[in-house]
Symmetry: C2
Subunit: 256 residues, 2 copies
DNA sequence: TAGTGGTCTAGACCACCCG
DNA sequence: GGGTGGTCTAGACCACTAA
């Protein structure tokens, strides 16, 4: 009737809530500080807990908050820049590598990876597990798939299916260095953490992750494929010339 | 030892549900097919609608499903590869550019961008809006910030604050080409769509997006900053410097 | 053991799309 | 108008952490 609908698009409560909280985080909280618990916050804003949680979830997705079961909700530090690609092509396991080998198995890869490698569906490949830590926090878990054909010089393990240790992982990486790397290829997409990755990343299963898929080319073929999952809440992936520092150094030595 | 704790971690219902649905999508549905509605699905699985929705949300986040209000839930096609970075550094607006200029304003940028540009908090910069369409779908929205100092030759518009059209956007881009690009710098992180971007991307506000921030260096300074938000559900960002041509599993999904 | 976030329920109403 | 997904409520219980 006479009710003039000023807000043609009524803003959802959780959206407005997110805005209010976001501003409060900027002005009234400092990094690491713990927020009131969800039940109190919901009461304070006069909404149901589920509605409040919808706002908190978004803020966590944006890296503004960190929530841990049994502990509480804290203000997250700014995302850390994680260098994920340099201009030069280098094999995994090179000297300055940020990854730490954790294990190695020999098994058929997922179908998607087999497609990239050009191997048969059930063909066994070396599968190296690595993890990456930055600023004292686990930031990424990786699976590196290397077809046996890429490493003819690597001796086969006595029991191919036995889960092997970091020693064998290092052997595979060492063997890779002997190949001439001709190029590489990267893709980034959003995913959710599988159970194994979640444990390694100290997150719950299903947590949002940035999946970086890299193909390594050598001898005219795809010689290896890396699938690395980065914590999307804490990481900003940096590519390119300067490694994400604020002030660029003004030299021209890396300009092509 | 003797206590065989088979299920040490009881799987949440929504997680199990997601697995079941995911397998069903692979085996029993084809791309574009519409699923039963949420109320029916929930009843069929014997869970509350909210629980079912939690599973659907994850599947949508992973790009397996597409949900549209008033329409229904459909099986999404595989994510399209969107080329986002080449080895060569090129200014926005170069010949083969995938972006379409939409408008241009002159206003102070967000604080984060001002920090990257090294401009004062309230300094006005040229702000070019562009959008990117791929395979008939909007995939990204961009804001390109160019300090006035970077383009001394560009005449100022008569009314600096007036929202200008695509013509002025093109003028700014054309002016950029005259600068010598010395390098660039990219970062990718997860974000959620702001209201303006959401409208342009045909998504709801808050939808997950991949935010690509690019700094362009010229004359020893940061000459421009681009903030591009890509739909995370439909896009796989590719950073190609592959030495060869791609072979994928049947479908040609690369887009330059 | 007390307190936190995580999961789940069974409803309700709303905004949107289409025939 | 009828059906869809999106929002919201007011509860309940569970899993985890720390004192």
């Amino acid at each position: 009737m006479g009710t003039t609908q000023l807000e043609t698009v009524p803003e959802p409560k959780y959206w407005h809530l997110k805005t209010v909280l976001s501003e409060a985080l900027d002005s009234e909280f400092s990094v690491g500080e713990i927020l009131p618990n969800e039940r109190d916050l919901a009461a304070r804003f006069g909404v149901a807990r589920a509605t409040l949680r919808q706002a908190l979830e978004q803020l966590e997705l944006e890296g503004r908050l960190q929530r841990r079961r049994g502990v509480g909700t804290t203000v997250a530090p700014p995302r850390m820049g994680v260098a994920v690609g340099s201009e030069e092509h280098v094999w995994p396991g090179a000297a300055d590598d940020a990854w730490q080998p954790a294990g190695c198995a020999t098994a058929p890869p997922p179908n998607a990876v087999a497609g990239l490698l050009g191997t048969a569906r059930d063909e066994q490949v070396h599968t190296v597990r690595r993890s990456r830590v930055s600023q004292g926090q686990p930031v990424a878990a990786e699976l590196l798939y290397v077809p046996r054909a890429s490493l003819p010089a690597l001796p086969e393990p006595p029991f191919p299916d036995a889960p092997s240790g970091a020693a064998r992982a290092r052997a595979v990486l060492r063997e890779l260095q002997h190949l001439g790397l001709e190029g590489q290829d990267r893709a980034v997409e959003l995913g959710s953490a599988r159970v194994e990755d979640a444990r390694e990343l100290d997150r719950l299963p299903g947590a949002p992750v940035l999946v970086v898929t890299t193909r390594f080319f050598a001898e005219g073929r795809t010689a290896a494929v890396s699938v690395a999952t980065y914590r999307a809440d804490t990481c900003r992936l940096t590519f390119g010339d300067s490694g994400g520092v604020e002030i660029h150094h003004g030299t021209e030595d890396e300009v092509s």
